[in-house]
Point group: D4
């Protein structure tokens, strides 16, 4: 497998061949997908509907698809209105709060990568859905099992067996209060685990700090951690692992 020069976009920019001027105060990295294997994700928090719509429009000529995250339902409706009549397909996921826009002829090409997703509690689903959305954009297939806490170890049996039967290349484990779940799973399987702490929980160690700390201290070491509530980050990390493995399958 031959990698492109990692600096090719930079060289193009140094030669003045990449246009990266602002649109509505936003400077989109239209080359990110080809360079890093992950789509440019529009981070919606604190952006107006106009900014989000402009960013989507800026991305679409280069890419056939765009993903925006942290979009509240009302904001999504505004964006959809702004983009109406442009022959785009828009899909909003109210759980994960992601908005996908694609040119109508576009499909996200499947890579064959596979990622399992496990959540400790039902309140960890939004972050898991965010991860699943970006994984779909990266061409990966996902299988999710929810509400698999360790307070009753036996509840782990059936979901974990199902996950393994799916033969994933990586597993995302999202947890807010039950921060040990990634460590327990890691101690049972020989797959890389991406731990996703969520801001569930209250009191000392609340807001995800406790979960993140537990994951960092876990004795079972086949895990690495992304920031609290960073479903996008967990999805991209797992997607890169899965797509690397899938690329080797197709050799």
């Amino acid at each position: 497998m031959t990698h492109p020069d990692p600096f090719s976009d930079l060289i193009s920019a140094l030669n003045g061949e990449i246009d990266s001027t602002e649109t509505a105060g936003v400077r989109i990295d239209t080359a990110r997908r080809s360079r890093t294997g992950a789509p440019e994700v529009i981070y919606g928090r604190g952006k107006s509907a106009e900014q989000i719509a402009a960013a989507i429009q800026r991305l679409l000529p280069k890419e056939s698809r765009a993903l925006a995250a942290r979009i509240e339902p009302g904001r999504a409706a505004e964006v959809e209105q702004l983009l109406a009549g442009l022959n785009l397909e828009l899909a909003y996921d109210p759980i994960g709060r992601t908005l996908t826009a694609s040119r109508c002829d576009s499909v996200s090409a499947s890579t064959g990568g596979r990622v399992g997703i496990i959540t400790a509690g039902s309140s960890d689903r939004p972050q898991a859905s965010e991860a699943a959305a970006v994984l779909r954009e990266m061409g990966c297939e996902t299988l999710a099992m929810h509400d698999v806490g360790v307070a009753g170890l036996h509840r782990l049996v059936q979901p974990l067996r199902q996950i393994l039967a799916f033969d994933p290349d990586a597993v995302i484990v999202a947890a807010g209060m039950d921060g040990i779940l990634p460590g327990v799973v890691s101690g049972l399987v020989s797959l890389p685990i991406v731990a996703l702490p969520t801001s569930t929980g209250y009191g000392f160690g609340g807001d995800g700090i406790g979960a993140m700390t537990t994951m960092m201290q876990a004795c079972a070491p086949g895990i690495a951690v992304v920031n609290i509530d960073n479903g996008i980050g967990a999805g991209i990390m797992a997607g890169l692992i899965a797509n690397r493995a899938a690329s080797q399958r197709s050799l």
Copy 2:
């Protein structure tokens, strides 16, 4: 690829078929490598030479090789003396402070997995060496580039091109003060990055907290983080990614 039942060791234990009694106060998980793909690593801090030697001896009948981490030079010499005459090959790495013991006929079987390692500063080498040691035990090949800070971006060019020419399945990036290095690398390549913060640095955000925080907040999202100075954890995470990819190559 068919996975074994993740609960097979547990079932054996429930049936009384696994012996996990203590030896010198230590209860070794002799089945870890077959179950999780990673070796049981003996954590040396706070253990006496006798405890370390006993743990090595406990592991070796089941496994042909054993790895101990966080072993200071003096302690390593004591352990070596205790194990003398047992026909074991012992190798101590004074930079990474790891001690490898193997039955003389043993070699660590190569899996074909490949992991690149980049350090931001020369003081991040011990953690990188610790990661390399466990990667060797997992059968992976490694290529390391040191002292690649972002204070001068141009210093990144040659090492990163060399790393890509090696075609790794994953890249470990270790940094203490230059915590952004994993994010910069992640923004240039399409490979999973395991970020390893190190306890270099002083003042506010010193002892690795600043590096870890930077890595957690990084905008380039193809990275996941292990605990500060946890070279073993970074190595195992990268090793699992690489071995998964390598297993697909050999299909």
Copy 3:
């Protein structure tokens, strides 16, 4: 260049020659601009429209211009109403939330100082606008480039070249999640960088703490940091640097 005695206002006060009694609970430092080179800025948070209007009126006999910061749109409208009919020119910036009041014949005298402003993301604009407002009051010219993150290094090329073509005396770099941006810029130019962390970001290191920590730990050392969201502070620091340089040009 001869400096006035730094204690001259203090001596005047000790001699009873400075009147600093309260007006509506506010004790304005009417001599600040002449003493420190920076205007007295009215900090609007937690102040009523009456207090803000009174403070502006207290300042204007001595100064021809007044600046109030952290003024929400509704509050600004109330203040404008209170000051109507006083022959003042009022300008409100809804992005930076600053309100400028000036006697109608007043212009902010240009000093010839030049400050470049770079933001990492579009959500860092309010703080940058606040800095620009106070720089205008200090007589400096500014040039701003927005949304220049390091997740794609190539996006930095064009904006940074434009900033340098402007030949600034200092550069403000505002960033919330991409806290390393000031360090990267500092590693490329020979100008003082004022780093302005912003309260963008979430999870561990969110609310600007991560950005500030990264800036404090940065390996490229030509930067100094102001408090999170303190656009006024960044502006005044950069303005003092620029005005010092400009004063030397005109010698």
Copy 4:
């Protein structure tokens, strides 16, 4: 069961009937055992051998036994020398760093209370030994199982079954990096769990903070937590639970 008035010692003191003057700067609570069911424990850190010996001598006329904690080996030898010739039996535990002194005819009366002790790692033994020492002084029987981490769940099977066969009234679970162990145990049994975080571990959440946070956030709620390394506190809490249960058995 009739309790004595909880304020009887206070009433005695208010009537001037309790002598609590200082001896060598130490004011011993000679009535603590009868009032609270737990012995007065002499906290050795920062006390000279003379202070410790004086405290022991002050306690022994009222009590037949005395317990001192956090006594380094050298200090213990000094105390033993100071108390030589006083017809006392002295026992020092170098793991738990406790020193027990008793009048030669004294035995610690058995209450019939039973407490199980589980440690996650071999480095958690000192704290467990400290707890065991105070439990012996409270007349409880203990059974300890060591190095029972959850990285390999199967290692929990045999020790937990042995603990339950002992039919304890309470279980102490000590853990430094594997902070979830108390929660896992609590999810499997119907007994009160006293969680004892230990200062093992490094990096983010090191020095016991991570373990304590995990225990506080644990989803399995039948646990309560004592301070990091507070073996004495864990022992007394478990001892009070066990002695309450034992007192009901003998009714």
Copy 5:
């Protein structure tokens, strides 16, 4: 007293004999009460009325009673409407924000366990009520004394004497600003104290952190601490202690 195998549910699950599939995204541990002696508590925060109602319905075939916590009044009304016509008895406590559902023929069987509850201030009552609710479900009798701060020590006399006259097996002490109250009580009685810090208080150490810290550092060692505002956890810990003692009474 013979304990059941702690792993029996796990063995059933490994044999495929326990059904733990999701209902409305929730995977209920229907066997928790028999295994751990404490009811499965539905944690209401962040769950929709539909999820809460489904969880209750899922539990009731196996259990005759269900308890949901952290249910705001409006949410409780919604749940009640969803469950109307199912022949269930529903009881909502607006102070503790708990909702109890039971089949109409069900009563919570009394175990004879007794738990005293003391609150430092009137604002600590919600957490105490939450604890009392779960204690009722565990079959324990409770006696509560409120607003017993130590700022006036004499206010402690009457309530503590009343608590002791009740002869409890354990005492819960809830406090937000007066974090020492558990320690003072522990120094006066020979009973295990479960300390429950509450999020009362402001400024440095506010939101319960100060109370929790004080409880952790308390010199009187017969106490153990649950997380801030975790009334459920305090209740279950005290309930397990009381039910253990009660089980010995009935031998």
Copy 6:
């Protein structure tokens, strides 16, 4: 000067002579003023109007006056309605959010104590007003100077001279961002300074933490600190100092 026995209330309670039963969940310390020299202050946050009114009514038979703090305007109106027709004089201070209730014939007896109050900014006035309210109840005279920051040292001259001309027994200095003000004042006068940090300020060290830290670290050592926003605490501390001094004047 002869002090009463500090334990007299406790002895009365132990003899059953003090009635401290609950009223509407509140257990008032009716003897606090005579014992400690400070009034019992009803802390309003989280209390209903009914609870506050009941507490006032409980206090008034014993005391002729009552003070409630942290009462929002709407709550104050409710309380006033509940107490209408009881022949009480009610005074609400909307800045300090305190409510004073007194029997109509009552006046707060003057002690002759004098306390100076200095605030750094106009947003620190609420806390200063709270302190002034409790000082009035303690019979002290106060003189307040507002908005005396150190950004312009000369602004300190006139107010501090006025404060000294008042000849106070103690000085309260309240500051949120200008946390050094107590230290600067302490370095200029020979009077005890009570430092009152306020929750003004934002970013790193915001919410009063920065002010409190600065006060704790101040090099000029004649100051002691109360909790953030604790105007009541600052007032009582200063009132006790002033009343002690005043009591010596009248000897």
Copy 7:
């Protein structure tokens, strides 16, 4: 009582009448005692014996006495040697680690101020001794009671009665683990309490943080807090209170 102008030293300096040049890198405030009522205290940590000796020599012409704090025994001996032959009286207190130097004819003039000192544990004595040393220099009389923890409330009776019999103007209460002690004392007496947290204690809230937090949150509000281990600060605060009261006695 007429106060001198607080700015008189400043005016002298502005007129060039105060000499404050460096000696051996130290710039002594020779006028502090007359201005603030407290001696200039030489902070020994990190200073060489030469610097300390030079500072003492610089102070003595103006003042007849000098106090140095945080002087380790070895350093004290070095200083004593450097000052030998200068006809000074030197007194070193090995518990409080203070060194007093005085011209041989000097006595510290008694003011008649009285300060009580209470320590919670014997390990809090060094800080209490430091406070006592500076109180002696301020002319106050002190009475100290040690090891008065609240784990046994009855131990408080005798010492507190003795303190009150001494009729102090203020009370210092030093505590490390038993941080509530100042609050309990404050709830029993009508005197200002200066709370001095000490760095005793371990684990969560160790190093004095827990004690300081408890003191900040204390419900009994007649207390104010100095920094951890700041015996000098506690002493000066209490000394200023006592000397103010004493000055009123002598009117």
Copy 8:
């Protein structure tokens, strides 16, 4: 003034024209001075004498001078021995712990930039010396005033007047406990202030955290802050400001 392309080194590296291979594990940025105006500083902590000597030798062919920081005296002697006979001039500053190496014919070219340095206490001198060393390497002239705390404001008069008479382009203010000093100075002059917090101080806010927090919160806004103890960073920031101003003088 025309700036070079900030990306010229990067372009050279991309074209393979810059050699940045490792020497003894260190990859020196030989082009830093020309690109950023600041020398590459060798950070000595955690480097062996061999590594430091190799780095110096690597720098000297390109640069005529090299600066190493954080070099303990013993390490400096080792480095000097390793470099003996190479015709280099070596200068070690034991206060600032910096080591300068220069080719014998080299002088640091003066730029005409001027920087004032003020320290709050004598223990802040090491950091100030570190800053002065790097300023000398940048060609700036410095004037330092030490031990200028604000506990006695009058001590500030003479030093600040001397600093202004020097007519500096920027002022560094270093402080550990007296963190407000930069703010006070900033409120008196119209020059940019670089605030350098130092790790002096103890207790809450010790180790420089308090000073840094105070500086971040300072109301006088013409200051920016570098990390605790980062004398190099403060020096380079001030040097860039001064050299920018100086470059304008010489136009």
